[in-house]
């Protein structure tokens, strides 16, 4: 019975292809926009949280900022993004080694490490025709854990390198590819680094895997990668020994939010008497929460648009079905004369509506997944489409067919056979 009705519905659709397609359009657009936004949203959420995990979800950033400004610690990490009239803090306004040592003493096990860095500026390593662009960065040993740096060979900057203030460096795999194209281990090799005012020689002690998450637009050949040297080496010739910003690594099993709040109170004490400067303490999870909730709102808004489009599409289906019932009044009368029960007539028209919306749902899903895949590709986010999304949307569109097909189907079922047969 159902199969026969499906066959009949398909025949009817075939006879009226344009109309069937136009009727489907609302459903197609509705399902497409919902699927697209769900796919894009999921991909973005995945990639954002993936990136944040890579950055370290236990990281708590402590940065000095001007009182009365809203510049966050994140901003402080991006040179050149500071507002133009921003003041520069004096040495006394910055975070000192003593504060850090006190903090470590006070927090004990709750703090797994303190990552510190000092930007040594851009430079270029050269060897004959070979070169590699680098951003020199003085770091301490905890920097590796805070930034999830994976070593491919050798080891990262260690405490003894900091103590000896040696000219040692940890370089990226890309750097190695550029400087030592012949292969072989770069460990122990010396490289000349040309800076604006001087040339320095560093011994490579480690090679790390560069992440693509923040790769710029430059070709691989010219890409700038971080060139890690001991913090102490980097600061040797610098007068300023204090820090504008540090990253505290919360204990793996600790409550990051709670540690963040305690750190905030701890550092606030040092700045009670400071009229111009204060500290800002924040962690990535709070930022991640904000970002995901914004993504969620955007997703909801688009889903709402898709939902409205589906509603309109459903009404369109109902409209066309009512027209179809009117047009086929004589057919309905004939079917009744031949003995069709009211329920059989009803089923015939509901099936027709469901076929239209279900096909619309399938087409909309295909389009939505394709659009989502393209968007994910453009955004560089991983694509993940759950079968639940697909089944759900096709099922939902079929349900729309039942919902909006029921009224015209009942209209058809209730027709008086004599009047239907007499209909011109």
């Amino acid at each position: 019975m159902i199969l026969e009705n499906i066959r009949l519905a398909l025949l009817t659709m075939k006879a009226n292809k344009t109309r069937a397609f136009l009727t489907m359009l609302g459903i197609i657009i509705g399902i497409m926009s919902i699927i697209t936004i769900v796919v894009i949203g999921d991909a973005l959420t995945d990639s954002v949280s993936g990136n944040f995990d890579a950055l370290g979800k236990n990281n708590i950033t402590i940065s000095v900022r001007e009182r009365g400004t809203s510049g966050s610690a994140m901003m402080a990490n991006f040179p050149g993004r500071r507002s133009q009239n921003a003041k520069t803090p004096e040495t006394d306004d910055l975070l000192t080694d003593q504060m850090i040592a006190d903090m470590r003493g006070a927090f004990g096990e709750d703090v797994a490490g303190v990552s510190m860095s000092y930007s040594g500026g851009e430079a270029q390593a050269r060897d004959g025709a070979r070169y590699a662009n680098v951003a020199v960065s003085g770091v301490n040993a905890d920097y590796q854990g805070a930034n999830n740096i994976t070593m491919l060979a050798g080891s990262f900057i260690a405490q003894r390198d900091l103590d000896s203030k040696g000219n040692v460096a940890v370089v990226s795999d890309k750097f190695v590819k550029n400087m030592f194209p012949g292969g072989g281990s770069p460990i122990g090799k010396e490289v000349k680094v040309y800076r604006s005012d001087r040339i320095e020689i560093y011994t490579i002690i480690g090679e790390y895997e560069s992440s693509d998450a923040f790769a710029g637009t430059a070709s691989e050949r010219d890409e700038t990668t971080a060139f890690y040297i001991p913090l102490t080496t980097a600061k040797q010739d610098v007068l300023e020994k204090n820090f504008a910003s540090i990253t505290v690594i919360g204990a793996e099993d600790g409550d990051v939010q709670e540690i963040t709040e305690r750190l905030e109170r701890f550092f606030a004490n040092y700045y009670l008497g400071n009229k111009d400067w204060q500290v800002n303490v924040s962690n990535l999870s709070s930022i991640l929460d904000t970002v995901t909730s914004i993504l969620g709102v955007i997703q909801l808004a688009f889903a709402l648009i898709g939902g409205i489009s589906l509603l309109v599409g459903g009404i369109g289906v109902m409209n066309i079905m009512v027209v179809s019932v009117t047009e086929r009044t004589r057919e309905i009368g004939t079917r009744k004369a031949l003995g069709a029960l009211n329920g059989q007539i009803q089923l015939q028209f509901v099936t027709e509506a469901v076929i239209i919306t279900a096909i619309g749902g399938v087409l909309g899903t295909l389009l939505g997944v394709s659009l989502g895949a393209i968007a994910a590709k453009v955004l560089g986010a991983p694509l993940s489409v759950s079968p639940l999304t697909i089944l759900g949307s096709v099922g939902f569109s079929a349900a729309i067919g039942v919902g909006f097909g029921l009224y015209p189907a009942n209209k058809a079922a209730k027709l008086d056979p004599i009047e239907a047969l007499r209909y011109e």
Binding site: M1, A15, T334, R335, K336, A337, G339, L341, N342
Partner: protein, 274 residues
Amino acid sequence: MVIELKGIVKKYFIGKPNELSVLKGMTLGIEAGSFVSIVGQSGSGKSTLMNILGALDRPTEGEYLLDGVAVAQLQDDELSQIRNQKIGFVFQTFNLIPRISALANVELPLFYKGAGRRERRERAMELLRLVGMEDRMEHQPNELSGGQKQRVAIARSLANNPSIVLADEPTGALDTETGNMVMDIFRRIHREERRTIVLITHNEELAKQTDRIITIRDGQIVGDQSTGNKAATPVPPTASPVSPTAAPASCLLSPPSSPASCLLPPPSYQGVRL
């Protein structure tokens, strides 16, 4: 008697100032296996009578026994089942379902009865052969001529072995020659299949080809005569139930293989088959 009408009245606009009596108390019996024509002028109430005979409509007053079953006051779906299994319709305008093949059209009554695919197909092919349409089975209605459409419609009317075939002006939309051919088919199925056929027409020539002519005027029977053709027609051995009392609807709807259920009606109405 396959059909017994007693005092059938049909009124429209009941209780309103323009109340209209279309059938004014008709009493009539039609024997199984007979070929009866109902003639009368346009507007005399022929189609109204056919709608009641065909269980498409209920009379305002009166009693209608079809195969001994009281049909007059049944519910919609019960009437649907009566139409499906006891009545074959042939319409003036053919009323084939568009977009489906001749074969599928003939299968429809079997489909609504709940017959299986194979049974439907075999029966429909057999019927199309009977009306000489075996080489047009896959054609859609719009690919057929009027005469061909009416032959498909006749085949369809016979699908479920109905007790009566009701034909309302079946040649009305056809030219004389084609009309005669359709008439020949009716005569043949009457003779060979021993069908009870009620032919509604205002064509005296066609009426003369039947066994009995019932003339109605203004909603009343004004003439009922035998044409003498009947002597040539053998009385069918499968006569309808003679019992004048109404059998329960469930009897009518039970499969022919279990006539015992007619004697002991089941406690509830179980005839509905989807």
